[in-house]
Amino acid sequence: MNQYVLFKLEDESYGIEIEYVKTIEKISNITRVPNTKPYVKGVINLRGEVIPVIDLRERFGLPIRDYNNDTRVVIVSIQDYIIGLIVDSSSEVIYLNDNEVDNPPVVGEVNTVEFIKGIGKKDGKLIMLLNLKKVL
């Protein structure tokens, strides 16, 4: 059984294994970094650490939306990388048993499907589980 942090993008639920998630922050001032990929929004100051943030909407090719009060930055740490992911909102942590996780769909939204490593099902909801390495 694994624990996942859930967040939302465009009314769909996504999940990241909890061990990768350091903190979840409200969005703060972002300093643009020139000459980077468009979805890299820049860097933020997280308690004295300089952390790059990427906009998951743009990364997944979803329509761009202004940040609002619900917008969150999920700070993930994988291998030596520490990166913030900008998401629409994030609220809960759930448990998923192995038998509640399916393989990713063969067909689906073409843009996002490569970042998904599995589909979790809980209480009738579908949760797309992110393959973080692919996202970065």
Partner: protein
């Protein structure tokens, strides 16, 4: 047992030991008769053997073991030091260093094979051993025990026993091939022998024999009152034994040997006394040091440094907020805070300082090897090794220094014959000095060689089309010297392994400038050359100029800024699609920062009129950077952008400003 947790300690300590080994070897070469040094080297080899053995690095252990054997022979006067032996010891040192490096990188000792070295060590040892061979042969090729100590011990015991009228015998036993319980059989033999006397030595060791860790044969040395035949008779009663051979061990039968041994024993005793007192002194010294130092993981220091940086940032912010307030107390408090943060900053910086010896210590060996290769006599004189610099600087300064030293040895200092001819001492001197100077550290590399031939430099530069004949004619000395640092310039007439591989002084200069330093040369023909390097104490905190492009703030390292000026936009000309402007009679290339950094231009911005220009320099190249607004000079703390964004074009890092926002630091070197 999981040893990985001790790996770091092992590597650290091994490096320390290797360092002292290197030093001892170098001084041994100069004072081959210094027994104290041999002892020191022996001690290091022994410690390394023990440590690597514990860690399971058998190759290191066996190499150090062989070194020990050789060193032991030397300190017992069985061997005299000669250059071959010193060279061999240096080779061993190299091999050990290699092993440790592999261990540091991979956590394992790697596949490197040094059987050759071991064979060499052994052959030196064996050659000499023939001359002073005692009848106790059996210990010679012992590789399991710390043989030589035992050897001495056994010799001593036997000698004493002989004085007391006991006989010493070595009994070689070979068991039958079909013997079922070898250990038990051996045990019976041991028991039998113990009835006759005292077993003083066995090979393999008693433990190994008990564990049946032996083939079919083993040998035992005993002290006994009985004579040879009665022992043999008794042993022959034991079954399952193929052959038994008893040899009487007599150390006194050759007077020379006993003398040698006696002498060495005395010498050892004496030495032990000496070393004891000395080590006592030393350990006293060391103890003092040990009591006062703590080994700290560098990550923790970095963390501490980060926190201090935070403190500085918040202090700056307080100053901004408090500076406007009318409250007298508040201002006082802020001033106090400022003083304290400055002190803390200094203190933490000091903790991160390491003596420049870390870089310097490899040079004596390098100079020795190079001068040997080139057949030159060179004396390296170092001073100020204790000068401290930040560890970030240490990592960067090594390569440029190596380059300069190689240059001096290869091109600077003449061959002995040449030196004698021009009336100089046969041995050339190479000075390496370091000393602190304000917020900088100065490092000088000076030789008393032939100096730089300025005419030759000029000719070369003309040949290589770096300058024209005409310009060459009117050049000042300084200008000619600056040619040395031009890319693609190398005066070496023949390309040697040591310098002149096309990598010239320009690389040295770039590297030093990249860490915010500078380099100067003084040279006099026939007298010598002196390179003076000036580097900042630290790279973590720098003075920077903050500028604005639209509403984005960027930081430019002050060390690479030459001046700030304004230019008329009409004065900008286009040459081959590059914008330049004539500035102080030179063409200055223009870099529009907001273009290369993709800052959106506001439409109402007036592109004509005066433009604020920051003149930046890299080496002797200059460029004018057009900015929108100047904010001012500030001390900034350099932070990395993290692995994900590392390598971003034009950006060297980031810093956090007083208001908590992030400003990017421009990599001026990349703009050229």
């Amino acid at each position: 047992m999981d040893i990985s947790q001790y790996l770091d300690i092992f590597i650290d300590e091994s490096k320390e030991h290797l360092h002292s080994l290197n030093e001892s070897l170098l001084s041994l070469e100069k004072n081959p008769d210094d027994k104290e040094l041999i002892n020191e080297i022996f001690r290091v080899a022994h410690t390394l053997k023990g440590m690597s053995g514990t860690m399971g690095f058998t190759k290191i252990a066996s190499l150090t073991h062989e070194m020990e054997n050789l060193l032991d022979a030397i300190r017992n006067d069985k061997l005299t030091i000669n250059t071959d032996i010193v060279d061999l010891l240096f080779e061993c040192f190299d091999a050990l260093e290699e092993y440790i490096n592999v261990v540091a990188e991979e956590g394992e000792e790697g596949e490197q094979d040094n059987r050759d070295l071991i064979i060499k060590l052994n052959s030196i040892l064996n050659n000499k051993d023939h001359q002073s061979e005692s009848n106790i042969k059996m210990l010679e090729d012992d590789k399991v025990d710390s043989g030589n100590n035992l050897n001495q011990y056994v010799t001593n015991v036997i000698k004493k026993a002989q004085e007391n009228g006991l006989n010493a015998y070595t009994i070689e036993v070979v068991l039958k091939k079909d013997c079922m319980l070898k250990a038990a059989r051996a045990f019976i033999i041991f028991n039998t022998l113990e009835r006759y006397g005292e077993v003083v030595y066995s090979k393999p060791s008693v433990e190994d024999i008990e564990d049946e860790n032996f083939d079919l044969s083993f040998s035992i040395t005993i002290l006994s009152k009985s004579d040879k035949n009665s022992i043999l008779e008794e042993l022959n009663k034991i079954t399952d034994v193929e052959t038994i051979e008893i040899k009487k061990v007599e150390i006194t039968d050759s007077m020379d040997n006993s003398k040698v041994i006696e002498k060495t024993n005395e010498a050892i005793n004496e030495k032990q006394n000496k070393t004891q007192t000395k080590t006592e002194k030393k350990s006293k010294k060391k103890n003092n040091k040990v009591g006062k130092t703590v080994r700290v993981d560098i990550d923790r220091l970095d963390n501490l440094m980060n926190l201090v940086s935070e403190l500085i940032i918040i202090k700056t912010r307080m100053e901004e907020v408090g500076g406007n307030s009318e409250n007298h107390n508040m201002n006082e408090a802020i001033e106090y805070l400022e003083r304290i943060t400055t002190s803390i900053h200094d203190a933490v910086m000091k903790v991160r300082m390491v003596p420049i010896d870390r870089v310097f210590n490899r040079f004596p060996r390098m100079v020795r090897d190079l001068s040997k290769d080139l057949g030159k006599n060179i004396k390296l004189i170092m001073s100020g090794e204790e000068t401290e610099v930040d560890r970030t600087v240490i990592d960067e300064i090594g390569d440029p220094l190596i380059h300069l030293i190689r240059n001096s040895i290869d091109h600077g200092i003449e061959s002995p014959e040449e030196r004698v001819k021009v009336g100089k001492e046969e041995t050339g001197s190479l000075y390496l000095r370091a000393y602190p100077d304000g917020n900088n550290v100065v490092i000088e590399v000076e030789d008393d060689g032939r100096g730089i031939d300025l005419e030759k430099v000029k000719r070369k530069a003309v040949d290589k089309k770096i300058i024209t004949e005409e310009i060459a004619h009117n050049m000042s000395k300084e200008e000619i010297i600056s040619l040395l640092f031009k890319a693609g310039f190398s005066t070496a007439e023949k390309i040697s392994d040591i310098s002149g591989r096309g990598v010239g002084l320009d690389v040295v200069k770039n590297k030093i400038e990249a860490i915010g330093g500078n380099i100067e040369v003084e040279t006099e023909k026939g007298k010598g050359t002196k390179f003076t390097i000036r580097i900042p104490l630290t790279l973590a905190i720098i003075q920077a100029l903050l500028i604005k492009l639209q509403d984005e703030i960027y930081a430019l390292p002050l060390s690479s800024i030459k001046e700030i000026t304004t230019i008329e936009s009409q004065a900008i000309r286009k040459i081959q699609n590059h914008e330049v402007v004539l500035f102080r009679d030179k063409t200055l290339p223009i870099v529009r920062l907001n273009e290369i950094l993709g800052v959106q231009k506001s439409k109402d911005k007036d592109e004509s009129g005066e433009l604020i220009t920051v003149v930046a320099k890299k080496g002797d190249k200059e460029a004018g950077l057009i900015v929108d607004k100047l904010i001012g000079q500030q001390e900034i703390v350099i932070k990395s952008l993290g692995k994900y964004l590392s390598g971003t074009k034009y950006i060297a890092g980031a810093t956090i400003l007083g208001d908590g926002s992030i400003s990017l630091i421009l990599d001026i070197n990349s703009l050229f």
